[in-house]
């Protein structure tokens, strides 16, 4: 197993001190995490077998300074921060894998700098809105409802492993504070409706795109797969049966080969 390390990258834009978790060897690949904050799970671990994975932490989350989010005023700022992180990592044209909020950010980057994103894997991304299928208000839920909204098979060992809490009460308190703050720090760019104009920008994306969606996603319905596919020129959809919002956790055995085969094609 590759042992991840944290790269610290001072960014000129917003004076943000970026933190990028990295591991693996091979060509570069960028992984963008979901609203709940950075997670280094078996799916990401698997990617390190063939790639040097760079996983930037959203401002205010993970290894970054909590208050750094206050200097990032807009989605425009956030996109430029990523652009400067890519510069610093000397990434020319790179594949991006993004999950949920991270999927939205992948689309924003690919729309802003189409030449910079060679391939894109979107795992149940947010960023579009349909009145007849509203995105669940995941920032306004008690923990048990949030968990039930994220996963179809709560009892499965993979989901249970993902939800496992530390034993130490202090660590639990810090974990909850980090989770809540991550939802707030990412929520800055999607509140109160996660529809900030991406629909007008998706046509600019040039990257070959694989859109993976859990068939039973209760956070953002799988009907959105087609909404993304209709707007991204070179894209195709894979629907994962019996699966909720986080297919790479809930159905890793199905998702991992799809992603690997797509990236190697």
């Amino acid at each position: 197993m590759a042992t991840p390390s944290i790269k610290t990258i001072p960014i000129r834009h917003c004076n943000f001190e970026a933190k990028v978790k990295t591991a693996g060897s091979g060509p570069p690949l960028v992984y963008l995490h979901a609203a709940g904050g950075p997670i280094w799970d078996p799916f990401v671990e698997g990617l390190t077998e063939r790639y040097t994975v760079y996983a930037p932490h959203h401002p205010g989350t993970g290894e970054t300074a909590r208050d750094s989010i206050h200097a990032v005023d807009s989605l425009w700022d956030l996109v430029l921060i990523y652009d400067e992180i890519f510069d610093a990592l000397d990434l020319g044209s790179v594949p991006i894998v993004g999950t949920s909020f991270g999927g939205m950010m992948a689309c924003e980057l690919a729309a802003h700098r189409p030449e910079r994103v060679s391939q894109m894997v979107l795992l149940d991304p947010i960023g579009l809105w349909r009145d007849d299928a509203p995105v669940a208000p995941y920032m306004l839920m008690p923990p048990e409802k949030l968990v039930a909204t994220l996963y179809k098979n709560l009892g499965s060992p993979a989901v249970q492993a993902a939800l496992k809490m530390p034993d130490d009460p202090k660590a639990i308190a810090v974990g909850i504070a980090d989770l809540v703050w991550s939802l707030g720090a990412t929520g800055k760019f999607v509140w109160p409706i996660p529809d900030k104009g991406l629909k007008k920008r998706l046509h600019r994306v040039k990257a070959d795109t694989l859109i993976i969606w859990g068939d039973d996603d209760a956070l953002i319905s799988s009907v959105y797969a087609k909404e993304f596919a209709d707007r991204i020129v070179n894209s195709r959809i894979e629907i994962i049966k019996d699966c909720g919002h986080v297919p790479q956790v809930e159905r890793l055995e199905a998702v991992a080969p799809l992603v690997t085969n797509f990236l190697h094609a």
Binding site: H70, M139, L140, V174, W181, A185
Partner: protein, 422 residues
């Protein structure tokens, strides 16, 4: 002690089985199932009459606040009510009474100089009797009902307050190039009567950031707890500790406390009379989950960690995340969430509480929950005649100044108060 009658203006006739399967009484209670505009006609008028009765009985202040989309209290703009009260108190010769607007939420009003203008209007109509509350605003109101981004709310609030103060006091035109607000030319009409501006009051709960804000700016803090003086020790102790750490004195007028109160002839009568209204308030109107009060980002990280690491020990029972349904009125009276009893009992309990918590301002809610107009008037009348005069003398034997009260109302003597009550 300065005593203000504070009104939530609740919906008083929710059905027995409310809130049924609702996740919250706030935002989630459908108007089309529960609301009746004809009843609300009475509620608004009764509430204004109840506050006016308090003014007639010699209370130092009368107070209103802002909430949205719920039956707990729906004065969507407290300044509408403040304007009515300013005019009525003036016309009826009751200009001893302060208008404690607790208040309008600047961070959810765009642009916030609208509140600077409205407060100035109130100060003008009332002839300088405004206390200008500057609440941060609850998440359910600002974030959900009004769509303000939670993680921006606190910095919006700080900027809005700075803008309001400059708009009140600047003797030149200015452009405001803020992070959240931009205005090309500010020249506020009118300005407040009080010079340089009305006293500010910062309401809040358990946020250490809010306490620090108060101490750094020498502003008073109003602890809006629903769990009574008994459970407020931890919070107020920390507030005073932080005051000392920042070199501030222990002037009780730095602090204000909110308390639900029910008075009747005897303790037993009081318990019988107010029990159902107590349960209505705590079980129906306060039916609200924490994710609505403070959505992610609303509490800053330091305060969040502070509360989470301290856990239940910090708040004891003063925590809205606990289920209040198992508490019967008797328990809540015993725990003093509400102070209910004969005039003597209420006097003693409130005096002990004020002295223990070291608060110089008391806000009493004398109409709460389903309490009908007739009972509310009796409560205000009994409190006004038998409890209020006693409480008003607290702290008067001490040297403390109260710069956080309208200047022209600061030196109201005992004699003047007796005249008002006569």
């Amino acid at each position: 002690m300065k005593v203000t009658m504070f009104h939530f203006m609740p919906y008083r006739d929710l059905p027995e089985d409310f809130p049924r399967g609702l996740a919250s009484a706030w935002v989630d209670a459908p108007w089309w199932e529960y609301g009746d505009a004809n009843k609300v006609t009475d509620y608004y008028n009764w509430s204004i009459d109840e506050l006016m009765l308090a003014a007639k009985l010699g209370f130092d202040g009368i107070g209103t606040n802002e909430h949205h989309q719920n039956p707990y209290g729906f004065m969507c703009n407290p300044n509408l009510f403040g304007a009515i009260l300013a005019k009525m108190t003036r016309d009826q010769g009751l200009d001893h009474v302060a208008l404690v607007q607790l208040g309008a939420t600047v961070a959810a009003t765009s642009p916030p100089i609208r509140i600077a203008e409205e407060y100035a209007v109130l100060d003008c109509i009332s002839g300088g009797r405004l206390v200008a509350g500057i609440p941060l605003g609850l998440g359910c109101d600002a974030n959900i009902s009004y769509g303000v981004t939670p993680i921006e709310q606190r910095e919006r609030w700080r900027e809005a307050v700075d803008l309001m103060l400059k708009a009140w006091t600047a003797k030149e035109f200015f452009a405001w190039n803020g992070k959240h607000y931009q205005l090309p030319k500010v020249n506020l009409w009118p300005r407040p009567v009080q010079d340089p501006h009305p006293p500010l009051l910062v309401p809040g709960t358990v946020s250490s950031s809010t306490w620090d804000y108060c101490h750094d700016r020498n502003l008073p803090f109003a602890y809006l707890s629903y769990f009574g003086g008994k459970s407020a020790d931890n919070v107020m102790d920390r507030f005073w500790e932080r005051a000392a750490a920042k070199g501030k004195d222990a002037n009780p007028y730095r602090a204000s406390f909110l308390q639900l109160v029910g008075v009747a002839e005897t303790d037993r009568q009081a318990e019988e009379e107010y029990a159902k209204h107590v349960e209505y308030f705590y079980h129906k109107l306060l039916h609200q989950p924490t994710y609505q009060i403070a959505p992610p980002g609303y509490s800053d990280y330091k305060s969040l960690l502070n509360v989470l690491v301290s856990g239940k020990n910090f708040l004891q029972i003063g925590d809205l995340s606990i289920d209040l349904k198992p508490f019967k009125a008797k328990d809540m009276i015993e725990k003093e969430f509400v102070v209910v009893g004969s005039p003597a009992t209420v006097r003693d309990k409130l005096e002990a509480m004020a002295k223990r918590l070291n608060v110089g301002h008391l806000m009493v809610a004398l109409q709460f929950g389903s309490m009908p107009h007739g009972r509310a008037k009796k409560n205000i009348d009994l409190f006004g005649r038998e409890v209020l005069p006693h409480l008003q003398t607290i702290w008067e034997d001490q040297k403390w100044e109260n710069p956080w009260w309208p200047k022209r109302l600061r030196n109201r003597t005992v004699k003047q108060r007796e005249f008002a009550t006569a």
